[in-house]
């Protein structure tokens, strides 16, 4: 029993960690360009609703998934517009985005509560799923999980080895140097903001299309904020975001299983676990001085020079 329990728990950890992973990767991309977006929670909420609505009306879960990403990017564009075009305060704009996104999802989503939409189901990847242990944990998942496996190394390569990735990082680290080298800081910050919003929207769409297969108000339940915390925990590195997201996925899955098994631990303590863990993780990260890894100009608006 114990071995099967452990394997199914780890597989569930990957599944419930995936929406957080998408959102964390998105926020890393955004923050690397120098834009702090605290609206991830609102973006995930909108992504979840848009994905569900699109899948329900077209019958295609994949279109739904992409619609979730597109609407996430659209909401992030509001943040970009306020912060990059009008140089509004990035912290406050992000908070406003969370309020706007949650409100909008609730307002537009009410008719969709309880409706059905086609979603994603797990399938075994040929060959890989037969690897002992790892196959059962990682390769018996749904399509969107497999896509997330690809995004992590792609983003790692993008940020390290491509011209666009290096320019984007330069816009976040040292905008003056970027300008001196003929890099348009505003353009790369837009790229980070929209790309980050797209990934955050995908994370939200994962929730409604693969995780619950339902739309309900308040679906993301703080996952967007956990993603913001994980960016610090991950020191702005995609590969560490993977670890962090699965750690949270594990705690969420574990907590659900304990509740289902009917332990003597009060369910309210179990419900608090992910939030308490977030605080713990952010304290741990603070001891290791995350400021050293933080993009130097994060949250600082620049005067356009053109």
């Amino acid at each position: 029993m114990t071995e099967n329990f452990a394997i199914s728990l780890l597989a569930a950890a990957v599944q419930s960690g995936t929406p957080i992973l998408y959102a964390t990767l998105g926020e890393i991309l955004c923050e690397k360009s120098g834009v702090l977006n605290l609206g991830v929670e609102g973006i995930m909420m909108i992504g979840a609703l848009a994905g569900f609505m699109a899948a329900a009306s077209t019958g295609s879960p994949l279109l739904g998934f992409l619609a979730g990403g597109a609407c996430g990017a659209l909401l992030a564009a509001v943040h970009g517009w306020v912060c990059l075009s009008f140089r509004g305060n990035q912290v406050v704009s992000g908070l406003a985005l969370t309020i706007l996104g949650s409100g909008l999802a609730d307002y537009l989503g009410t008719p969709f509560v309880g409706r059905q939409a086609p979603g994603f189901d797990p399938f075994a990847l040929p060959l890989l799923s037969r690897v002992p242990l790892l196959g059962d944990i990682f390769f018996n998942q749904d399509l969107l999980v497999y896509i997330s496996y690809l995004i992590v190394p792609l983003m790692w390569i993008f940020l390290r080895n491509t011209r666009w990735g290096l320019s984007l990082r330069c816009a976040g680290e040292n905008p003056d140097a970027a300008v001196a080298n003929g890099i348009s800081v505003t353009a790369y910050r837009w790229m980070g903001t929209l790309g980050g919003g797209f990934l955050g929207g995908l994370g939200g769409a994962y929730l409604s299309l693969a995780y619950t297969h339902l739309w309900s108000n308040g679906l993301s339940a703080g996952r967007g904020w956990i993603a913001v915390a994980l960016v610090i925990f991950a020191f702005w590195r995609p590969e560490r975001a993977l670890m962090g997201a699965y750690l949270f996925g594990g705690v969420m899955a574990f907590q659900l299983r304990l509740q289902a098994a009917g332990t003597s631990i009060p369910s309210s303590i179990l419900l608090m676990l992910p939030y308490a863990l977030t605080i713990f993780v952010i304290v741990l990260a603070s001891w290791r001085r995350p400021q050293s890894a933080m993009p130097t100009s994060l949250g600082v608006n620049v005067e356009p020079t053109e």
């Binding site: 912290v91 406050v92 908070l95 985005l97 309020i99 609730d106 307002y107 608090m272 605080i279 952010i282």
Partner: protein, 357 residues
């Protein structure tokens, strides 16, 4: 031809163009959203206006809703003066409510009636301050990001409150009603003018005056402002930033706790579902709409309360989701952020062949 932002010689904002710049996009966004669900925008706005200001009772309800908004708005503003982001007002409000409810349920009947209200006020403040204590210590000691820590405590507080009124504090005579028993009479905040306007209004107005005075006219306020504007200058002047951070976050949490106490002992008269309805998050909007000025907070709180009461009417009369007020609040804050740039910049039309200055 394109539009270009450029620095103005003199900074400053005129109130009329500013109001127009903010109100127009918000009203437009609302109109689009009413259309989206098949409602007539003009009729919907009329319902909201009627609901907020239609008669004396509705007006008084706007005042009632403004009480917690004033307190959470002040809470966010005082922390933000020091560049601290207290996003945890929702949890601090809940914890203030829990403390007040615990006292009202289990100690109030053993005390002489005149002593109960002052102790309730203290309990509410203490509950909110306590909920801000851990994030404050973490911030001062290890520079732990207070946005995330205060926010996470919101979720914990709401779960704790539900545990209490579904579990140990549940009304034994309540037949499954999710809430505690009603408090004894001595623990009800006095109400005025035959409405639900309660003592909290005067507590909130008093707090606004006190904060205005102490932030603007005392050495303490000076220190807070300096630490907020320039941590380096503060270090040079030997101000203990860590201690001030803790003090300011405790005050901020305490103010939010008072909002919770007011809701619990002034409106609900028991601890029940419906305490955590977002006043903590609304406080962020109030504070920044008021440009962090404590005297402007009550006025802005009234405006936002009108929006919320209007939204509730819309739900009751036209069966549209009340969350429209949340959407409009978000738009309002974004519009203000975007408009603020015009205090230092202006828009100019630049022709393509024209060289910039």
């Amino acid at each position: 031809m394109r539009l270009k932002l450029e620095k103005k010689a003199h900074s400053g904002l005129r109130i009329v163009p500013l109001t127009l710049m903010i109100a127009a996009p918000v009203l437009l966004a609302g109109a689009v959203l009413f259309e989206a669900v098949g409602a007539d925008p003009l009729a919907a706005y009329a319902v909201m206006l009627q609901g907020a200001l239609g008669n004396w009772f509705n007006c008084s309800e706007v005042l009632v809703k403004a009480i917690p908004l004033m307190l959470t708005g002040l809470a966010v503003a005082v922390a933000a003066r020091m560049q601290l982001w207290n996003i945890g007002c929702e949890g601090q409000l809940v914890c203030g409510g829990i403390f007040a409810a615990g006292f009202a349920l289990y100690a109030a009947d053993a005390l002489p009636a005149p002593a109960v209200i002052p102790i309730l006020i203290l309990a509410g403040f203490a509950g909110g301050a306590l909920w801000a204590l851990i994030p404050a210590l973490l911030k001062a000691r290890w520079n732990v990001n207070e946005i995330i820590s205060t926010l996470m405590f919101n979720y914990v507080a709401v779960i704790l409150m539900q545990h209490l009124y579904f579990g140990p504090w549940r009304d034994p005579m309540g037949r499954g009603f999710p809430g505690t028993a009603m408090f004894v009479r001595s623990a009800w905040l006095p109400r005025f003018f035959h409405t639900r306007i309660h003592l909290g209004l005067f507590i909130a107005l008093g707090a606004a005056l006190l904060l205005y005075y102490s932030l603007g006219h005392t050495t303490w306020g000076y220190r807070v402002t300096v630490i907020g504007l320039s941590p380096q200058a503060a270090r040079y002047a030997n101000f203990d930033a860590g201690r001030q951070q803790i003090a300011v976050l405790l005050i901020s949490g305490g103010l939010a706790g008072l909002a919770g106490m007011g809701e619990v002992c002034g409106i609900h008269l028991r601890l029940q579902q419906g305490l955590a309805v977002g006043y903590g998050y609304d406080g962020i909007i109030v504070a920044f709409l008021a440009y962090l000025n404590p005297l402007a907070v009550p006025l802005v709180a009234l405006l936002l309360a009108g929006l919320i009461v209007g939204g509730e009417q819309l739900q009751a009369v036209a069966h549209l989701p009340a969350s429209i007020s949340m959407v409009l609040e978000g738009c309002l804050l974004l519009a203000i952020l975007a408009a603020t740039v015009f205090s230092t910049h202006r828009l100019r039309i630049v022709r393509d062949d024209e060289e910039g200055p």
